[in-house]
């Protein structure tokens, strides 16, 4: 998902930078703008919502949502197919449809490298990271760091920065892309549309917990893939086939490309001509807009943050029944990640071929008329296709697809941010919180974050020139590499200790800010009006900068760790990869804090049991929300190892799954080689 942020704005100097735009001033895009107002479309959309809500309600009865484990981790009972589907659906948001298609239209298939890189990273997740997280017995990632390093400052830093990144990057990008689509296709008031969507999402997130999310994600994956296939089919038919795409793309130039105001600016040909290397995944390291070292390593690093250390994704793996199910789910997600190139990037390019004057517009005044922003209109590529070439009924399906993508991603982010907030921040404020209180807090936080998202809409709309998304892209690619580096070292290098990790994180943050703030200040500019950011700061491509930042942080972490006292093995059993199978007793570094918390929690629960209200309304509410209080007291505190999943695997299944992973990697390598 955050990869999308990188692809939303391409700040390459040569190619035009197409930014996500706000078409809120736009009365009518073109003569054939179809709004969804016929019975077939409406029936499909209504049917979609009914299905989603019923799947949500059905899953409510399948798991016990009254415990922390049941609510936040679906009781650790998920099989591989909801895990895989949920990984895919949580990742693919409406931002992918709009962003991938738009950047594909603007600069070719290299943006698909973001997706295809994830094929390998998701295997890293399943094979290297999740075993450690599972044996550690943690629910959130800051909790893992707390156990691994001790102390509270690292986990606090990670919680805060993760929440910050969620609100400012994932949520706003998804909502914004959803809004673009809704306005293009429906013409609805953006507030009405977004608020309705958020409320429906919040409804099944709040009540059902992770189980509801994962089952609805499975349904939404089907919808997304089915609808996207349909659109891809139609668009290929329209353009004349794959070879026609290859042939026609290079001549998809707009008819108006001369400057309307030569005093102010001149339009050079490379701003509106499709790139020569449009059908190459791996491009020139110095002149390409997505240089191949960046595509291979930079995206891997940022992908490592997104897939292996981020709460949204890892939580789905932790909800699985066993390690084999996790691995199988990761493989399924990997195969599904092969599809976005064909379902979103190629249709985006087809859109540019079919509508070069709108999607490929270059003259600022014309672009403003077309989509409301001067920089470029490539991000209307996908909505334009939906509106123009899909027949009645299927347009409703595509809207359902976009809604599915939007709601699945948003719901996952809501749930995970509430997990983070509840388990890391709230338990620090009130260590004596009972399980029931934690679940209530989790639900209330989802509502808070929905309110924050709604308040974010005007900010997003105010970003007329798309500058907001420049900033969002920077935010993720300059802040994520240190976190990825610290997690990687924490899992694999026993010698790394708390001082090293903390100073590495702070150093990495400072380095990232050194690049991020000047870039915000100067702005990213566009092809016609390049930014005057000095070469020293902005000259290095952001993916290359990510690689540099990753290595600098790692060096810093290792240097500081080796200069300070190591953590003894007795504190590290089942927290590092080399000791993941160890069965010895572990002395938790944070056991004092845990013990205090547990004692306070037990006292609080006893007090509650004494004055338990037996009124009918309380009972009803409790039943609806999952029967919280009475069964909980016997269980230990949420992090207690009462159900420590073991990571042993049945050898037959282990070999099956490993073989499957190898096959998937082979397919991925073939695709990379084919399009390189």
């Amino acid at each position: 998902m955050n990869k999308l942020l990188n692809l939303l704005i391409l700040k390459a100097d040569q190619s035009s930078s197409f930014t996500l735009t706000t078409p809120n001033l736009l009365p009518n895009l073109s003569s054939d703008k179809g709004t969804i107002n016929n019975p077939a479309d409406i029936a499909i959309i209504v049917g979609y919502f009914i299905m989603v809500i019923s799947v949500g309600i059905w899953s409510m009865f399948r798991t016990n949502r009254g415990t922390v484990g049941g609510y936040f981790l679906a009781g650790r009972t998920m099989t591989w197919w909801p895990v895989g589907a949920s990984l895919f659906a949580s990742n693919i948001g409406s931002g992918h449809f709009v962003g991938l298609a738009g950047t594909g239209a603007a600069s070719g298939i290299a943006v698909g490298g973001f997706e295809w890189n994830a094929l390998f990273i998701v295997l890293l997740l399943g094979w290297l990271f999740v075993p450690v997280y599972l044996t550690a017995g943690v629910i959130t990632m800051p909790q893992y760091l707390k156990k691994r390093f001790g102390g509270t400052r690292i986990s606090l830093y990670l919680s805060v920065i993760s929440l910050f990144l969620y609100i400012f990057t994932k949520i706003s990008v998804d909502m914004f892309s959803g809004a673009v689509f809704i306005q293009q296709a429906l013409g609805w008031n953006i507030y009405v549309a977004v608020i309705t969507l958020l409320l429906i999402t919040a409804l099944y997130t709040v009540t059902g917990g992770l189980a509801a999310l994962m089952y609805t994600d499975t349904f939404q994956t089907f919808v997304i893939i089915a609808g996207a296939f349909v659109l891809t089919g139609f668009s290929f038919v329209q353009v004349g086939g794959y070879s026609a795409l290859l042939a026609k793309y290079s001549s998809a130039t707009p008819s108006n490309f001369s400057s309307m105001d030569p005093q102010r600016y001149n339009i050079s040909p490379h701003c509106y001509t499709p790139r020569q290397d449009a059908f190459n995944l791996l491009r020139d390291p110095t002149t390409g807009d997505l240089p191949w070292p960046g595509v291979i390593f930079g995206i891997a690093i940022v992908g490592g943050w997104y897939w292996c250390t981020d709460q949204v994704i890892v939580q789905r793996c932790l909800a699985a029944r066993s390690l084999t199910h996790v691995k199988a789910g990761c493989i399924m997600c990997g195969y599904l990640k092969l599809l976005p190139m064909f379902l979103m990037v190629f249709p985006g390019m087809i859109s540019r071929i079919l509508y070069p004057d709108e999607v490929g517009c270059v003259v600022p005044e014309l672009c403003k008329m077309v989509c409301g922003t001067e920089v470029g209109c490539s991000n209307i590529a996908y909505p334009k296709l939906v509106v123009s070439i899909m027949p009645n009924g299927l347009r409703g399906l595509m809207l359902a697809v976009m809604l599915a993508a939007l709601m699945s991603s948003l719901a996952s982010i809501f749930n995970s941010s509430s997990t983070l907030f509840t388990m890391d921040i709230w338990t620090r404020i009130r260590p004596q919180a009972t399980e029931r209180e934690l679940i209530i807090v989790g639900r209330v936080w989802v509502l808070c974050i929905v309110a924050i998202s709604i308040c974010w809409i005007p900010v997003v709309q105010a970003a007329q020139s798309g500058q907001l998304f420049d900033y969002i892209q920077s935010v993720s690619s300059y802040l994520a590499p240190p976190i990825a580096s610290v997690f990687l070292l924490a899992v694999f290098v026993k010698r790394v200790n708390e001082m090293g990790a903390f100073w590495g994180l702070i150093g990495g943050l400072l380095m990232g800010l050194c690049r991020m703030l000047p870039e915000f200040w100067f702005g990213t500019g566009s092809c016609i009006f390049p930014s005057n950011c000095p070469y020293l700061v902005c000259g290095v491509h952001y993916l290359h900068f990510g690689i540099i930042l990753f290595f600098c942080t790692s060096v810093l972490v290792l240097v500081v760790s080796y200069c300070t006292k190591p953590i003894e093995d007795q504190h590290l059993h089942r927290l590092v990869f080399s000791l993941r199978h160890s069965k010895e007793e572990r002395k938790d570094l944070d056991w004092e804090q845990e013990e205090r918390g547990r004692r306070a929690q037990r006292e609080a629960e006893e007090r509650i049991r004494e004055k338990e209200a037996k009124s009918g309304i309380c009972h009803l509410v409790r039943r609806f929300c999952g029967g919280g209080g009475s069964e909980a007291p016997e269980q230990d505190a949420p992090e207690a190892p009462e159900k420590l999943p073991d990571i042993s695997e049945d050898p037959v299944w282990k070999y099956t799954v490993d073989a499957n992973a190898l096959i998937m990697m082979t397919v991925a390598v073939f695709m990379w080689g084919y399009y390189a």
Binding site: L246, S250, S251, N280, D284, V669, G673
Partner: protein, 167 residues
């Protein structure tokens, strides 16, 4: 991975150098696309093969020692059948026996454990002073002997001693 990078970067550089001069619509490829795909796959499978070989070579060295010892264990194996006579003072014999025998109830002190991994000598100096009702079996395959009173199972994952005492 490195090989793939090298191949593709060479390809790309030469090709883009060639295309840089002319205004061709697309970069000309030296090899057809499916061929680059096949080359990449072969390079990848080769790397996987090499990795497997290295892993096998690495893991074989420490495990060779344990393999030899467990073989000598199995040579000393013999099974107690009748249950009437038991041996005490097993100093050096290591055995692996599973309890299947029909043992009468009069032998309250049946005491068998089985050896799973290598390493320990069982020196049992057991005399006839064992208490009543102490039946203690540990088996690898969790086979229980049902006849004895006060029988309880112990699942021993590590090495366990072989001790058999007689009444």
């Amino acid at each position: 991975m490195g090989k793939l990078c090298a191949v593709t970067s060479c390809l790309l550089l030469t090709v883009s150098a060639a295309a840089a001069q002319t205004a061709q619509p697309q970069i000309e490829r030296l090899l057809p696309q499916w061929l680059t795909g096949i080359i990449a796959v072969s390079a990848f499978l080769f790397l996987v093969f090499v990795t497997l070989l290295v892993k096998k070579a690495w893991c074989e060295k420490p495990s060779r020692k344990t393999a030899v010892e467990s073989e000598s264990d199995r040579e000393n194996e013999f099974v107690v059948t009748n249950g009437n006579t038991y041996e005490t003072n097993l100093d050096t014999i290591r055995r692996k026996s599973t309890v299947e025998s029909a043992r009468e109830n009069e032998f309250e002190n049946t005491y068998e454990t089985t050896l799973e991994m290598t390493g320990r000598k069982s020196t049992v100096e057991s005399t006839g002073e064992n208490e009543f009702g102490n039946t203690y079996e540990t088996t690898l395959e969790m086979v229980r002997s049902k006849e004895d009173p006060n029988a309880f199972d112990n699942l021993a994952f590590g090495s366990a001693d072989d001790k058999v005492t007689s009444m």
